[in-house]
């Protein structure tokens, strides 16, 4: 099957890392088509960056959908543009944030999230409440590591994340950790070993969930908010993406 995974920021190194993380867990006959928009911010940290990432992201979704993708994964932990993407894609769409929350719920009654910056805590809490899984989340923590600092994979970034996990175990009565950024994909194994509890990475979690929807023949419902948008005029540079 053809799985489209879109990194909604414009940093190519991060797209490559995400693609590698996806390929590492994908089924043998799954091809990973990793894309990134040509417009938008180099990283997504908070509400403002999200807003500017969405049009480019939706362009990628639209293009990949036309190219025959069987499913789409949005590889930003705040599930940027997920609802809009579902409305236009024929194939099902999964966000790595929701994927991680659902998977963590299958192996623990409570989990803590460790994300990058404090500015992302509330957006993630909003998502958890929207998904219904807020009660399963003990706490959303920020390691105060900018997204692009993760690209360097320096000991400092890893150390700060590890410290938050230590705090989560001590203070949150947490049973599992969810890594709150696509850029942390390659830390999961090391952190799980070190701390002795399950550590869930959203990119890895999203791949088998997306494959599952394809294998089950399930697509986004067209009843309700994901009905195809009504035809209308869209002005400006993003006009080409109109439905």
């Amino acid at each position: 099957m053809r799985l489209h995974i879109v990194n909604p920021n414009t940093t190519a190194a991060m797209t490559a890392k995400i693609a590698a993380a996806a390929r590492a867990v994908a089924l043998p006959d799954t091809s990973i088509d990793a894309r990134q928009p040509t417009m938008g911010p180099v990283s997504i940290e908070g509400f403002y960056d999200e807003a500017f990432a969405v049009p480019g992201l939706l362009g990628c979704i639209r293009d990949a959908d036309r190219d025959g993708a069987d499913a789409h994964i949005i590889a930003c932990f705040d599930d940027t543009g997920l609802d809009a993407a579902r409305a236009i894609a024929k194939a099902p769409v999964i966000g790595i944030g929701e994927a991680a929350f659902h998977v963590a719920s299958l192996i623990a009654t409570r989990f803590s999230v460790v994300t990058t910056l404090g500015v992302s805590i509330v957006p993630l809490e909003h998502n958890l409440r929207k998904y219904g899984l807020a009660e399963r989340c003990a706490r959303v923590r920020a390691a105060e590591v900018p997204v692009l600092a993760l690209e360097e994979r320096n000991a400092d970034a890893l150390g700060k994340i590890s410290s938050e996990i230590t705090a989560a175990i001590r203070e949150d009565r947490t049973e599992a950790i969810v890594l709150g950024c696509a850029g942390m994909a390659d830390f999961a194994g090391e952190l799980a070993s070190k701390h002795g509890l399950p550590v869930v990475d959203g990119v890895a979690a999203a791949v088998p969930l997306a494959e599952a929807l394809v294998r089950l023949g399930l697509r986004t419902s067209r009843l309700g908010p994901y009905a195809a948008p009504r035809a209308k005029t869209y002005s400006g540079p993003m006009g080409g993406f109109q439905p």
Copy 2:
């Protein structure tokens, strides 16, 4: 004071109607600066339209903020781009949806919302939950009237909305009605008289709330998710709006 009100769609007639509704309730010394983006959809109906309206909307917020606006009002009932706008504007920002929900909460223990299309029900429910006011809302109803059909102010649109109010009184144990679209601004008085209960229009509600924040000297908190976005590179046609 200078109040900026932005209609996030590109329909000029609607901007004019919104400006008139705002001026009708504004204080004598309040100037209403009504804007609309040059890019984006002609109307906002559901998640997809929202996504494409936001960059243009944020451009208007940014420009008006630089021009010295004392407060901003986003005149789309689903409060499109509200969180992102708060992160970049020096002046406080209010959405007409949240304004209507808060005002209705001051005159009734329960209210029903009557919006345009069914596709908007879930986005509004998400907002109500995010604001904490979901318990105050008896039900979000759709009159199945497209946004632009409201511009014609034909009896049919008004009739469908009125029918939903009748149903809300009979079925929802509702005490007040919130009109769920900026384009319904001029229906409130007529419907309140006809049905004998308070009818709240978001545009009208937002104006004195925005004036209140200015008079009280209150601005959006910079602690938490509305901290100023970090400086970073934004590519593409929307690059000019970067913080």
Copy 3:
């Protein structure tokens, strides 16, 4: 317009301070009619004091309503008697507690309340839950300063409140502070400057909200629990206030 603001306790100095705080933010053409009951406690701290303040308070509401008040404000932070007042007043009624919660919700996703005594924490939590805004409140804190100690505006009272704000910023992930007593009205500016976050005073918040309802022509709904009370016999010294 004529705005009636009632201090539900019998301390005249506090009524004067409340009136001054209200006048400081009122519109030029708004006259502030500040009243206090002749019976009841000198301050309201907890459920018991509330109970005895209500009949006198309702007398003030009834009288001011007959005298042509355009709106009423109940200037006790636990919104004493608010529901009963709404049932009998022709004009709309706002409590300073609810006013502060709604206004704080427009500039922050989370706020902490700093009130006087610990005995008031649960009553305020009950109100927050009733209004639907409990999720917006990070924590209700008590400075352990009795209401009347605030009248002296000594450094000690201010210091204790300031200490709680420091703790709220450090521990609650708070974005804004709501001052939980009408007697703190004159501290807001100083505390906001000192701590660098928005500080909301209920008296100041309630005035433009009350003016907003009048300007919008909105009155309390008569459907539901605020229907006019049925005529019946009331015995005893409070008999004169019967509807």
Copy 4:
């Protein structure tokens, strides 16, 4: 043991009926001391009547507490003045509303309430939310029978209540009925037989719960909101009840 049960309205016939209902279920060695205030409304229907009933009610609580009552029951289904009463009484205090909700929770996963007038629905919903039992309640229904009409025990009142029970079984997926007024105390048996489900009367439910607290030696906690009120000056005709 000495059980004080106070009817917070001034209708002597209702006090007698309540006393009889209490005696019918009390333990052999429990004496029922039924009181009613000399001031306040003849019946309590909604927020306004509640407000005026409380001072007289608290006087009864204070007097009976001094006379050695082992526990107090407030025999109005909206649990009028319950929080204030707890703050001043040495003996524990139970409201018949909360008693009925707790007892119904022991025999059913969901119950519906049938109360007198629609104006009482929201006050009861507020209580259910405050107690935490809102999720256990399928729906609060009003038979639209005024409280004093129950005194005549005519077929019409009983018929209207019975009709609501029929509707609750058909529409609410209810498993048990809670009668929402002290004046319905003598209907429970007949309605249970007729409809084939448990019917809980609050007066009957409160008596063994109050006896239970006495037998267990449990009193209202003085930590938190039920701490004894601070000594202060109370003016006016209710001054004698100050703590």
Copy 5:
């Protein structure tokens, strides 16, 4: 009346202690019939032990019901098998956990639970949410004392529980303590005296509640999930308990 109290584990000393605690508060004419299953674990600590205790427990319920019990009490704090027991018993059934939560709710707005091991915290939280009383519970704490260690009533066990109560008062804003294990029944008085707040033991709380249901003639509703199980074949050693 005949009250059946079942200790769902197989430790006879604990059954004896439970019976004594029940008799200490039972009415003079109540006979306490204490039973324990012949199969299952020696103590119940967490989900797994619960699962194996239930068939034996249900056998006791079935037998005692046939022997004419007027009510049943399940004397394990996690209310093991309560829902299944209600489905088969003619007489009403109460769990000591739910009994303690309901009783604590009558004397405090918030309580903390102190249970045995950390493994039981989540099961108790699930129950609190199911009952609707989760909001009333400030926190479930574990003293890390195994159930059977309580049988020795050594100072160490009591000391650990006492330490948790100290912590609950300091950290949880708690107003009352609920002891989270049937084996703590004889600690309540001592701990209440020492810490100066109400301490609720579930065994003691359940007895008057069970007596209350009998005195009120209330039985488990047969509408909904407690309808009598449909006749069907049950294989294996537990077959004798089939309905």
Copy 6:
């Protein structure tokens, strides 16, 4: 990989159908090991049947775990014994109810459940609340078809389920249907085609989720309630399953 799927009732035909449904969606290199207990009820309908199915079910889990299962699926829609199974299995465990709820949440904002008998509605609602997904579920409906009637796959059973789906679309604002019984596994395709919305079967949903956990190397957390049970004596016929 080796996937163990246990039908917790004793009906072999149903086990065969479940195994076939699992094999139909399993990966090529996944072997399905379908088991059923030798003791317990022939079908599980409500709390009582659940209780008796659990010990046999846990025996199957224990045995398959020792035989090297990589993951376990509990193929009863009320997720019978799921928590206990997680505590003893080395491999991860998934219930088909939770699997269906999580999968439906990826393709719809709201779903309705259609289960067999009304007696199962509350148990499923309890699960939804425990999982956090209650808000995602519009309504749990019962087709009033006994579990074993599904084995005959007669038009009547299918017709009743189909009628409930029709009602769900009309009344619940539902976007997707979850089939609430393992015995409905072979109806999903037909019903999805007929009603034009996604229909999720729990058996099919659980297989790729279980495979996902194995592929991701995720196991049940041992922190919290799923810690391995402490060694202790278990008496009676189920003694062999002790940990």
